[in-house]
Every structure is written in structure tokens, then in C-alpha cells.
């Protein structure tokens, strides 16, 4: 008998859904969480079901994760965000021992053993300064799109120090740098370096053990990846669709 499981990652910015059949991805989907996260999750869940040509009754287990997992529709169990990251990251890269996830509102990291079992974790403090929202805020200050930020920072000619402990202070630093005629490329790199430093310092509390996987939506930002690799002094393993790692881990959890 085939086992069909689903993971729903109720992220603060996006809801992600992954359906697995015996550990293989049948379908996935993503949507903005919006004001009514539960409704958004229902909608994307049903779209993914349709894509997989399944009905709700065909699903054996539905596991929720993410900041909004308490309101996840249809779920019959749940798993922590770092726990789901550890399972998803080590499934995609069995050599992974450290999984870093940088999402919209939070940076976190898990250490796992050779079986993919989480053995330690760290989550950043109650502040989004080291996460995706920070990059978005800085992109607005620089008057570039979020998608432009990464490639722009690769064109930087020098490293400019910046404080990323607080989005508000960092934004005023960006304004100062603009007035000093610092190039947008250099500022963009400074922003990514600052977040990378924060994530590195957080992950070092765990002890960085290779291989290191980077998950979460911010892993799509090449400027951040570049800065983080330099700060950690490791080559990061990045999934093709890094924002789905948590949902994938949740869907895999019942199979373990």
C-alpha cells in the first residue's frame, strides 16, 4: 500500500504545501499568507491536491509546521520548524549536518546526525533584522526591486561595514551611505554582509559542521548566499526550491 503524506508550512509570509507519495514529491504549491492565513492555506492546499489528482481522503497524514501551524487546515499533527528543516534538508542532502533556514521573519539553524535526526538548534531573537523582511526593507530604501538586490551586490567594489542588529538603525545607515554617494552595489553588499554576519554568529552557537544546507526563501538571493559563504567559510548546499524544505520535512516526518 502506498503512503501519501502532506506537509503544510504556514510561514509568516508564504504558505507552502508539498504532497509526497512514498517519499516522492507528487505536487507542491505556494501562496502569500495574507491577512487570512487559514483561507490562503486551504486554497493552496486544494490547488495542490488537484494538481496531484487526489482528494483529501487519499491523504494518510497531514503535518503542519511554521509560525502559523496552529491554524493549519486539515492537519492531524505538527512538527517544529527546525525539526522539519532538519528532516527536509538531510533528505535532500544526506551529507548535511547543519541546516540553516532564513525565511521572511526569522533565521534558524538545526544540527542533525547522520540519520537526519535533529540534535540541537538555534533560533534568532525576537527581531526580523536577520531575515528576509530586512532585505525587503533595505531594497525599498535603495529603490531597487528585491530581485535586483542579489545580482547588484555581486558588483560591489568594496566592503562597507553596517549594523544589522536593527532594521530601523540599518535603514538610517543606508540613507547616510546614499548621501555619502556610496554606490548601490556597495550598499547592497553591505546589507547582505550584515545579515550574513548575524546568521553566522547565530549558527556558530551550534557549532558549524559540514555539510551545510541553506534553506528558506532568502537562499534564492545570490548576494546573500555569496556573503554567507564568505562569513561561514563553507560552500553551501542549496536546494533547487529552498523555500519548500520545511514543508517537505513536515511531509516526510510520518515516514520516519
Amino acid at each position: 500500500m502506498k503512503t501519501i503524506t502532506t506537509g503544510i508550512d504556514m510561514g509568516s509570509k508564504n504558505v507552502k504545501v508539498v504532497i509526497l507519495k512514498d517519499g516522492k514529491v507528487l505536487a507542491r504549491g505556494i501562496t502569500l499568507s495574507g491577512f487570512d492565513q487559514k483561507e490562503a492555506a486551504k486554497k493552496v492546499f486544494n490547488e495542490v491536491l488537484k494538481k496531484a489528482s487526489l482528494s483529501l481522503d487519499d491523504i494518510d497524514q497531514i503535518v503542519a509546521t511554521g509560525a502559523g501551524k496552529e491554524v493549519a487546515p486539515y492537519a492531524n499533527s505538527d512538527i517544529s520548524m527546525v525539526g522539519a528543516d532538519a528532516i527536509g534538508g538531510s533528505f535532500l542532502f544526506p551529507s548535511a549536518r547543519t541546516i540553516i533556514d532564513v525565511g521572511a521573519e526569522e533565521g534558524r539553524a538545526a544540527r542533525c546526525d547522520e540519520k537526519g535526526k535533529m540534535i540541537d538548534f538555534v533560533i534568532n531573537e525576537k527581531c526580523a533584522a536577520g531575515a528576509g523582511t530586512f532585505v525587503e526593507a533595505m531594497a525599498r530604501a535603495l529603490e531597487v526591486t528585491l530581485e535586483e538586490m542579489g545580482p547588484l551586490s555581486l558588483k560591489a567594489e568594496r566592503a562597507v561595514p553596517m549594523n544589522a542588529q536593527c532594521t530601523i538603525f540599518a535603514e538610517s545607515e543606508v540613507v547616510t551611505l546614499i548621501h555619502e554617494k556610496t554606490s548601490k552595489a556597495d550598499i547592497s553588499r553591505a546589507i547582505h554582509d550584515a545579515i550574513a554576519d548575524r546568521i553566522t554568529s547565530m549558527t556558530r552557537r551550534l557549532g558549524i559542521q559540514r555539510d551545510v544546507v541553506l534553506a528558506g526563501g532568502v537562499a534564492k538571493n545570490i548576494g546573500f548566499v555569496n556573503s554567507l559563504e564568505k562569513a561561514l567559510e563553507v560552500k553551501l548546499l542549496i536546494p533547487k526550491e529552498p523555500e519548500f524544505v520545511g514543508a517537505l520535512g513536515a511531509a516526510l516526518a510520518p515516514l520516519r
Partner: protein
Amino acid sequence: MPKKVYKTKLLDQWNEAKELRSNYYRNYVKAHEIGGIRWAGGAWSFSAIPSGLGDDVYSLTGEPYGATVTYNKDFAAKCHEAIEAKGYARDLCAYMRNYWGSIILDKYVLGGEWPKPDFIWTTHICCSHAKWYQIASELEGGVPFFCIDVSVGPYHELNERRLNYVVSQMMDGIEWLEKVTGRKYDDEKLIQAVYNECRATSLWAEICTLNKAVPAPLDEKTMYSLYVINTLMKHRKECVDFYKKLRDEVEDRVASQIGAIGNEKFRVMTDTQPPWAFLELWRYLEKYGVVSIGSLYTFGLMGIFEVKEDGTWGPRATPQESGVEIETREQALRILAEWTLSRPEWQHFYSPELKSDMMMRIVKEWKVDGVMLHFNRGCEGLTMGIAENKLALKKAGIPVMHFEGNMGDEREFDLERTKAEIEAFLEILGAK
């Protein structure tokens, strides 16, 4: 939720603990109505000493008061606003801010006006205590203030010179008490209070030692309401009587396998004061069959332990149990000083390694599966070195997590995020 496998039962002594506590706060307020004396100071004050002034002497200890304010969220917020408006920083000791706020607002958390003490009697070991009461004295218009410095180093390095330093301040303190109150000091009352204090703090250590049993007869959330009696009146006979009855009851619970929770599967310990406004977290653990058996804080803030012949921790033998009869003022003060300087929660002011060693002892002897550290922004004293404790525990292979918060200022605590962190930790332990 794991199945219930142990019997559970409400504590018989629960109501008495509540009654003692409410009488304590009421008696302090009413002391002047019966011609008595009110004094204020830290819970670590040598409270036996003012007892020599008479039987009508009542205290208000600041830390339990600060914690009580925290339960009243609206009042706590008003205290914080009031003290910040005066220009004091919000990263100071949270208990101290609750206490100062009450003075500024002229409101007692249990109702009525702020009951100004006749004098302040305290000790200084953490980074706040002396300043706490110096400012309190000023805010109250210059209440007489006496502070004993007890920062003489860890107990294992105690020598005559260091002990004399503390005892000589106590001797001076008694003369000062006579001067500010105009009363003649009674050494017999002091001696009885010293016996009581040694007995009460040893009894609490004995009760904590009983929690080594599986299932744990007490959970930490309950223990918070029990250890507190020592923070209020460790020198009083009713305190000793209460702990004797509690000890007997806990012994019965152990013998009858009555657990604090019926589904105990995992045992954790915490560290430092909890975020008092969010004790629901301890009940949240129970959902997963996890009991917090206590902590160095719950055990050693007031409990006095010693290493027994088999190498394990147990209650320290009291002077009377050791055959010592106290006959003079100086002897009483020397015994009280020496006894108090062995307090576990005073040792790590000198080195985080001493604390790590005690924590690892608890992990081993109390059969703890994991440790949850509260990085408590509200108490610099007890949080100092906690990151090093975390590293030491990890190095020893003990599962450990930390969460950030504040014992007395809910603005610095995020319940949902903390739950998410605890949940991940429970997954590591295999409890979820």
C-alpha cells in the same frame, strides 16, 4: 499526550502555603496597628537578626514582592512606566523596578497605600541589592538603611578572616538596630531565630532531595509556591512547622508513588527565576509527559545542602542536629553567617564553573533528561555566566536549550516563540 501511569493528588499543604503567604503580606501592613515594627530588605537578608527586637517585628522582602507584582500585569506595567518616567533604565533588575514603581505610585500590590518600612535591613551580593535599597530609602524620604556586604568569596574558600568580616558587620548591625528603633535587643530571640532559619532552609533541601524519586512527587511550578515561604520568613517558627508538615507529606507521596503529574515520562530542570507572568509554560510541558523537577534556583535559592557520605547532595545537618548549642550573640551570628555563606545560589557569583558543577550534579542525581535555561534579562545576578553553563552542559553531553525572557517584565517575553523553541527541544528529547 502520554497515558497516566502514576497516581496524583493535590498537596494537603497547598492551602496552608497560601495562607502563610497572605498572612505575611497582611501582617506587615498591620504591624503599626499593634505597635510593631516594619522592616524591608532582600529575601537573602539575615532576617533572623531583626527578630531580636521582639515578636512584633514584620518584614517585607523585595524579590517575592517584585514577583507578586508581575502576576498583576496591569499593575506591573504601571510600575515600569512610573520608574522609566523617573529616568531609570528598563534593563535594571525587574523586581527592583516593580518595587520602586510601587513606591512612586504609592500603591501596595495587594491593595492600599505603599506601606513604608521603619528601616531597611539587607545584604549585598548581586549587582543590584545595595543600590536597590539605597534608592528605595531615598524614594521613601530617607528610611534608615543598613546593608551587610557578604561578597567574601565561595564557601569552599571560606576562612576565619572572611567570616569575621561578615560577623563584625552583623554585630555593628545589631547596635544600629537598637539605635534606630530605640528597643533593647534580646539575644535569646536571636538564638531561636537562628535555629529556625537553619532548620527551615535544611528542611527545604530535604524536600527537594525527595524529588529525586520517580515519579517526582513535586513539579517545579508547585515548588515555586512552596519555596517562597523561606524567602518570606525563614527565621520564623511557623515556617519551620510548615516545612516539617510538607516534608512528611512529600515523604508519603514518594512512598505511595504519588506523582506531581500522572504521565511522567521525561524529566527536565530549568534555571533562574521563571517568567512569572507565563507559568503556563510549565503546564504546557506536562501535555507531553514532561515534568520539571526543579532547578538550582528552586533548590538552592533558599535550601542549604551538603555532600553526604555517599557523595550525593542532601540537606545540610543543622547546628542542633550536629549537637551544637548556641549560647551567645556572637556564636549565633557566626553560625548564621557560616550557614548562609554555604547557600548554593551564592556560589556562582564567583565562578560559572561552580554553578555548572552543581547543575550537572542535579542532572545526575535527579535523573534529568534535559535542561531548559532561562536567559533572564530581568536578573543580571542569576543570569551571569549562564551561557557558559550552557556550554559546559553541552560539553558533558546533556541536552540543553535556552529561551530569552524576563522574570518581571512581560514586555521582554514572547510566549509563542518560546513555545516553538520548547517544542523543538521536546522533539530532540523524544517527548514530542
